[in-house]
């Protein structure tokens, strides 16, 4: 106790260092950043191939395809969020840090979002054009992605933390995260569809904001708890 009060705790600096580390890692093995984007692009370009390439049908399906692509690619990239740290022993160091774990974890999730969800958001308009989404739908699509993908990262990180010690936890992660993802998917595609048809869509958007805020408050605690529990 005394020790802590003597030394001022530099929690913010630790978070920044963690974010810097994760971003450096991401840039150094650029696969990590391109991965979700390529997957996203892939899902979006596979669909027209597998399905009849009809412009009208495609433009109706576009919001769904794009959002499902984003959801899947975030989910895929989540698997290694804590596992890579666990494999090389860094997770032990994270757990041994005097700073609040929830804060550190939030930093990790933030850099994960920057390298996945944020990039997807930036890329989405391109895909929207490729899939013939009507012009009115493009801004709402980007906005829902901007609000929705952090929720995906936060919620998925809980699953990632719970499955960090499990050899091939991919499926469990999927199963655990999915129930939290489906509401986001429904509201987001609802908003885009409404906007594309010229209907009001701020109701849907409000819900996404609510999800985001509650995720920001609660998820870090859950993630930190899960990590402590699971590390035996």
């Amino acid at each position: 106790m005394m020790n802590i009060e003597q030394q001022s705790m530099r929690g913010g600096a630790a978070c920044l260092a963690l974010i810097r580390r994760d971003l450096t890692l991401a840039f150094r093995s650029p696969g990590q950043i391109i991965n979700p984007m390529a997957f996203f692009l892939m899902v979006a370009s596979l669909f027209p191939l597998g399905i009849a390439p009809d412009k009208d049908v495609l433009s109706q399906l576009a919001p769904g395809i794009i959002w499902i692509g984003a959801l899947l690619s975030v989910l895929m990239s989540l698997d290694s969020l804590f596992k890579s740290d666990q494999d090389d022993g860094s997770l032990d160091q994270l757990l041994m840090s005097p700073h609040p774990l929830a804060m550190l974890v939030l930093a990790k999730v933030f850099s994960h979002w920057l390298t996945s969800g944020f990039c997807l958001t930036v890329m989405a308009p391109l895909l929207a054009v490729m899939l013939h989404l009507p012009g009115e739908g493009i801004f709402p699509l980007a906005l829902t992605l901007l609000l929705g993908t952090p929720v995906l990262s936060l919620a998925g990180a809980i699953g990632a933390a719970l499955t960090v010690r499990i050899q091939r936890g991919g499926v469990l992660l999927t199963l655990l995260s999915l129930p939290l993802y489906i509401p986001v998917l429904i509201f987001a595609t609802g908003a885009v569809n409404a906007a594309a048809q010229g209907l009001p869509w701020n109701g849907h958007l409000l819900w996404l904001c609510v999800f985001l805020l509650s995720g920001l408050c609660l998820a870090p605690l859950a993630i930190a708890g899960a990590l402590r529990v699971v590390s035996e």
Binding site: S29, G31, S45, V129
Partner: protein, 246 residues
């Protein structure tokens, strides 16, 4: 015995550096000349198409770029085979420098095709077989470039890229014949070696010249890049030091 000396000569970067140095001026002149003549001829002096009006003139860029994008891939596959069988370093250097050039032509083909699609099909992009397979070819190029970037040890990267290039060859026939297999919007082949072309000769000749010009231009760019690559990889050898010291 004869064959072997020939190969070793070809495989020697120094030999290639010397020879390509002599070719460079010729390549520069011929590629520039043929490109300029073909483009001016094609863009200004050929009559407009009776169906598409003037928009068809992009053909003089689109078709050569498309041809080259595929041809470069085949050259890369050949280089890959040479590398794996005879372990010739020069083949790897060629493999390395050709990939970005091929990707550029691929992007050029996609872009010109998209621009052309706007007036003719009324859309930038359709998911038809030829277009999609061209996109896949771009993925292949990017994959090869990325694989090389991802493996640190250069010898390992070289062989890995060679294997990948060889495996990817299966896609070339698919691009080539996709138009015949699926009924698509995109035009079938009009230029065939076996048959007489169905194109009007006043369009055909500038097109052929443009294709030639693009090939020469590609050779020029490749030689330039290859020479730089040779210098950077052989920077420790005596002849490069002597060359730089000059």
């Amino acid at each position: 015995m004869m064959k072997w000396t020939f190969f070793h000569k070809l495989g020697s970067p120094k030999w290639f550096y010397d020879i390509s140095g002599k070719w460079l001026p010729w390549l520069q002149i011929t590629s520039l000349l043929s490109l300029v003549v073909a483009l001016i001829w094609g863009l200004a002096f050929t009559p407009p198409d009776y169906l598409q009006g003037n928009s068809y003139r992009i053909i003089f860029i689109h078709v050569p770029a498309s041809f080259l994008a595929q041809a470069i891939y085949m050259m890369m596959a050949t280089a890959a085979a040479v590398l794996l069988i005879w372990r010739i370093k020069l083949a790897d250097m060629a493999l390395k420098v050709m990939a970005p050039i091929g990707a550029s032509f691929c992007i050029l083909s996609l872009a010109t095709g998209a621009i052309w699609g706007q007036p003719t099909w009324g859309t930038w992009w359709v998911w038809d077989a030829r277009l999609t397979s061209m996109l896949i070819l771009l993925f292949l190029y990017i994959g090869i470039i990325a694989l090389r970037g991802a493996i640190q040890t250069s010898e390992v990267a070289a062989k890995a890229c060679a294997i990948l290039s060889l495996v990817g060859v299966v896609n070339i026939p698919i691009i080539k014949y996709s138009v015949n297999w699926w009924n698509t919007l995109h035009q079938g082949a009009t230029l065939k070696l076996t048959e007489k072309p169905s194109m009007a000769p006043e369009m055909l000749w500038p097109l052929l010249l443009a294709i030639l010009g693009f090939y020469l231009f590609f050779t020029l760019v490749m030689f330039l890049r290859l020479r730089v690559e040779i210098l950077s990889r052989e920077k420790k050898t005596r002849w490069v030091k002597a060359l730089v010291g000059e």
